[in-house]
Subunit: 293 residues, 2 copies
């Protein structure tokens, strides 16, 4: 048992997907493909000191989850609360740091859930295996409605392909064997719930077709062009992403949209060649893991 532990979870941008809801959150998920990023979330879990004679107050504050912060600010993060519940560690204080924007399609909530699971398992001697920790985070994220496929992708790293939806034991993963440099520009937030509550027929058809085409040619270039086609066919591309993609293609490159955020991403120097001033990172080869000093 230790007083605190830290995990690093890569950010994850989904390029295309199809949604596969299910009553059992371990079975629910998405098919699709994306990019695990060296820009990620560092999650530290500490054991909250017991407060004397303030049980009622603690119950109330737990509901607004003041024991989770993101870049120093208190944040209400239902997937983190869900992981606490599933691991039985209500006393886990969660401190997360990231260079990634929230709500812009980088899987920050999934990363916080998964990082909480890894670090809390160490601090509280939960005795779970990695598959069990990924399952706890995946289920918490699905139950909170904040994501369907980021957690399993972030647990894997690389350029993850989600062949079958769901947590370990249900889902099935593959990957594109490459590690390109990644550029991205985040213009703003987009509501995942708004998109997924509409008619997803076109989206699912486009996502399934992109997956089939990527399996036939699993390269970064194909992943990117299929992602661009998916955003177009699914009618999801925002005006700002569409304009950026057009600029990048005019400069001879390619780019696509992060699902679901008002964010454009590309490989190599695609965005900077088109005159943008992007954030720069790379494909993260590893999945989530504990940080050693």
């Amino acid at each position: 048992m230790t007083d605190e532990a830290t995990a690093f979870v890569p950010g994850h941008v989904t390029g295309f997907f199809s949604a596969h809801p299910h009553d059992d959150p371990a079975v629910a998920g998405s098919r699709g493909a994306g990019v695990a990023l060296t820009h990620g979330v560092r999650v530290t879990v500490r054991r909250t000191a017991e407060t004397d004679g303030a049980t009622g107050e603690r119950d109330a504050t737990e509901r607004s989850d003041p024991r989770a912060t993101l870049n120093g600010d208190p944040v209400r993060m239902p997937p983190v609360s869900g992981v606490r519940d599933r691991l039985g560690v209500p006393a886990a204080t969660v401190v997360a740091e990231t260079p990634l924007p929230l709500g812009a399609g980088f899987g920050v909530s999934g990363a916080m859930a998964l990082g909480t699971a890894y670090a809390a398992n160490t601090v509280f001697d939960c005795g779970r295996s990695e598959n069990e920790l990924v399952t706890a985070a995946h289920c918490a994220e699905v139950a909170a409605g904040t994501g369907l496929g980021d957690v399993v992708a972030q647990a894997r790293g690389g350029l993850p392909i989600r062949l079958e939806p769901g947590a370990p034991g249900h889902g099935e993963m593959d990957g594109v064997p490459a590690r390109p440099r990644v550029e991205y520009v985040a213009f703003g937030e987009l509501s995942t719930a708004d998109v997924l509550s509409g008619d997803t027929t076109a989206l699912t058809r486009a996502g399934e077709r992109a997956l089939s085409d990527l399996r036939a040619d699993p390269t970064p270039e194909t992943l990117l062009s299929l992602s661009r086609r998916f955003a177009d066919e699914a009618g999801l591309m925002t005006d700002r992403v569409a304009a950026a993609v057009e600029d990048v293609r005019a400069a001879g490159g390619d780019a696509a949209m992060a699902m679901l955020g008002d964010t454009v991403f590309g490989f190599g120097t695609a965005l900077s060649d088109a005159g943008y001033d992007p954030e720069v990172c790379a494909v993260h080869p590893a999945g989530s893991s504990l940080v050693t000093e």
Copy 2:
């Protein structure tokens, strides 16, 4: 298409295992658990220049595989030849560098096979997914009789648990969520074939029991103590490893034997605390991947 590509594959020490042979090498494999190491094998693949009018000579030299070197020395490595055959890239020259000893239980042959698959896929535009590359290397290793479970463990990284034997799509993996420092001393070589050609009943019974016990408590300490028990029960412990394990335990630590090598390993400072002068590395969190400059 590029002229050369490099992949890094972690070394892998198996702590305990049960053998599960099968006519289909993708289905064959082992159950068990082990440790992926930051000490690994760096594999560079280059396109061999065509030689004029020397076809007969090339055929002859290909059989002795002069186009594979390990730390500068020509090496005959059937799993590497097997990967060349499976990917259809006879012109792949393989240059491998490693600090790990050969034949001492570190999965060097599996690493060379897997690294060849990753790097050759890039150089020759084979268009394979990661699962397909792991399958090619696993099958080549199984067909060559040099290993049963290293490749899938090396493709995963961490402290891999092999729940079900076989290549991706057949096997099933989990992991112990931890990243301890690793110490090891390699006393010498051990023949995998000699061990596996004998009666493996006791070995398989001991391996299956260790796996069941590790799943109940997936921690590094339990992995190590179960590995020690396995080597003892299976009657595999060499005199030198047995003496080292006794020394480490007398100093208050724990250690086990690398399957299959005359090698002792432990976590933290277990071996140095007992007066040994071990090699020191750590758990490698990522599986095999391409190296970027």
